[in-house]
Symmetry: C2
């Protein structure tokens, strides 16, 4: 149903971003990059969770050198995140990273950027032009909005790269403010065909950050904008990956494990639906195969939703009717509801 914007595709290591490729989920390590074992371990955990690209901060030359070992041991492509000093980008390229992210807000000297671009071109390493609202260069002319300023900064850098005959480009334009972010991406999407990395920056703790990210990223994805996403949360990075997949699943843009449909419960409900839903959720977290499970409290929407799910239950007073692939398969007493439901879920052979 969503018509995706037509973007060029680029290859970051083994992963294609843009074009007809699925929307790629990425995250960033939060370890000290110079701590090689800790960083590799975090990347492995992220990859296990479904992360497909990982970015690693490169604050100094020691971190840049550490990238070689990190990259060798990473199951997913590694992108070096560079600010302020172009020499760190040169060193990261030497360490064989799969991609670079440069912030034009703090690396703007054309001569230095040219050096990086030439080295990247030689090794076919894509560069993300990563603009952030919090680190914009001083505006040299008046802009109608912060979004316009962000877009202009990106376009200036894009032109510089294009002049050097470099087109392995990806772009991001992140702000904390959702309308600003959406406006910036809409503008750039209309002006260039490079793939876009989208996200809401500094979205905060999971409690509020997943909501802000879901609103901003969701609006853009629904408009067909975005080739790779990162949810930025002040938390363990695996939570970023989980949230990213939930956003993509909600728009049917990616499949990723089972999906739980469960009613909010109300004064009509005669079983403890929150308890049943929580038990089912805990169980299906470890399952990998896509499937829909409906846990419904009453006969209002229960049979309708349960019938459309792969496995569903519509509860009534002290009992529940279990549906499988649209058919009623049995009626069970309240005390057996969870047990019977989990058996049917397992029988979908979703276990890998």
């Amino acid at each position: 149903m969503i018509k995706r914007r037509r973007s060029k595709s680029i290859r970051i290591g083994t992963v294609t971003v843009g074009g007809n490729a699925p929307i790629i989920v990425q995250s960033m390590t939060k370890t000290d990059t110079r701590n090689i074992p800790a960083t590799i371990s975090q990347i492995k955990g992220l990859a296990e969770r479904g992360c497909e690209l990982v970015r690693v901060a490169v604050p100094d030359q020691e971190a840049a050198a550490a990238l070689r070992k990190i990259k060798t041991n990473s199951p997913i492509p590694v992108i070096a995140d560079i600010h302020f000093d172009y020499r760190l980008a040169m060193a990261a390229i030497e360490s064989s990273v799969d991609g670079l992210r440069l912030n034009p807000g703090n690396i703007s000297e054309p001569e230095n950027i040219s050096k990086v671009v030439r080295a990247a071109k030689e090794r076919e390493i894509p560069i993300r032009i990563g603009v952030n609202a919090g680190s914009l260069p001083k505006a040299l002319k008046p802009y109608a909005s912060k979004a316009e300023h962000m877009v202009d900064v990106a376009l200036t850098q894009i032109k510089l790269l294009e002049k050097l005959d470099f087109d392995l480009i990806k772009i991001s334009l992140k702000a904390f403010d959702v309308p600003t972010t959406v406006e910036a991406y809409r503008q750039i999407a209309a002006k260039v065909s490079y793939p876009l990395h989208i996200g809401i920056t500094e979205a905060g703790l999971p409690r509020t950050g997943v909501i802000r990210s879901a609103v901003g990223i969701g609006i853009l994805l629904f408009e067909g904008i975005g080739d790779t996403i990162r949810v930025s949360l002040s938390s363990e990075p695996c939570e970023e990956v989980d949230a990213a997949y939930e956003i993509l699943k909600s728009l049917s843009l990616r499949e990723h494990g089972p999906t739980l449909i469960s009613c909010p419960s109300c004064g009509r409900c005669e079983v403890n639906i929150l308890k049943i839903a929580t038990a089912v959720d805990r169980h299906i977290k470890s399952l990998k195969k896509p499937a829909t499970i409906a846990v419904m409290g009453c006969i209002v929407n229960g049979p309708g939703e349960a019938k459309e799910a792969d496995v569903g239950i519509a509860c009534g007073k002290g009992k529940g009717v279990i549906f499988k692939k649209g058919e009623i398969i049995k009626t069970v007493k309240e005390k057996d509801l969870i047990h019977s439901l989990l058996i049917e879920i397992n029988s979908l052979s979703m276990l890998d």
Copy 2:
């Protein structure tokens, strides 16, 4: 920046929905409605959290009768949620509720609906025509999509109410599927001018449900569609209210307490930003006044974001610079960061 759809306004008790009114946050009780003290207590908790309208399920006549006492003790308007039996709607009106929700999927007999509408008209009680994808009547003609079926069911009921010269109408068209929900609301928004209640139904547990709700409700609100929202979660109802406000805040449609901007941390960060952000978040939860607080890990986006916040901190190695209303006010050591930051937050006199 968001241009809201022009809708008619209606009054539900003391609350205006539609027109130029702010987007109203609502929830639903999960207690047994016949348990009057438990229901009143839950409503008071919801109101305290910022809930502005509350819906209560009416599964039987005893619940309908209980509404009188519930309504008398409720600090916010009470809406009776009716399915299957129009006589429960008649009894709820007798109990002086402020609004009704009827499901045309299971109350469709025109004669019975007419009785309810006449009684509601006499007392100026608005009726929400609440269509759910899980409880649609059988399709009597082919539809291009489930969304079109939902819209057609709503339009049929709207025409019936209009024929009875009743226009205190609100409409909802909820599905679990986000694209279906968005399509349904877009269609109805283009066809009628009644206020719209929006939400994603049976969105599941908070972990995934807030994300699905934020995507669906966020897309609609950003298009200017929606006059009142409910986030449906399998959880304590107060979590629905918190999530609703986060969605509205992310689009600058409502203010509601302080907002935390915090960076996700990365290999560049030299303080424990997650610990600082968590401490600040815990502290500001009890504050009521809107304000932005930025907790930033390094000098990349730190000074930029901290400067724009009401209070912000940009950390470096073993220390942090505190900003207030755009000015640097002091530099503090890492061990004093949280303490100093909380003092500055308190000094904004956000405490009610």
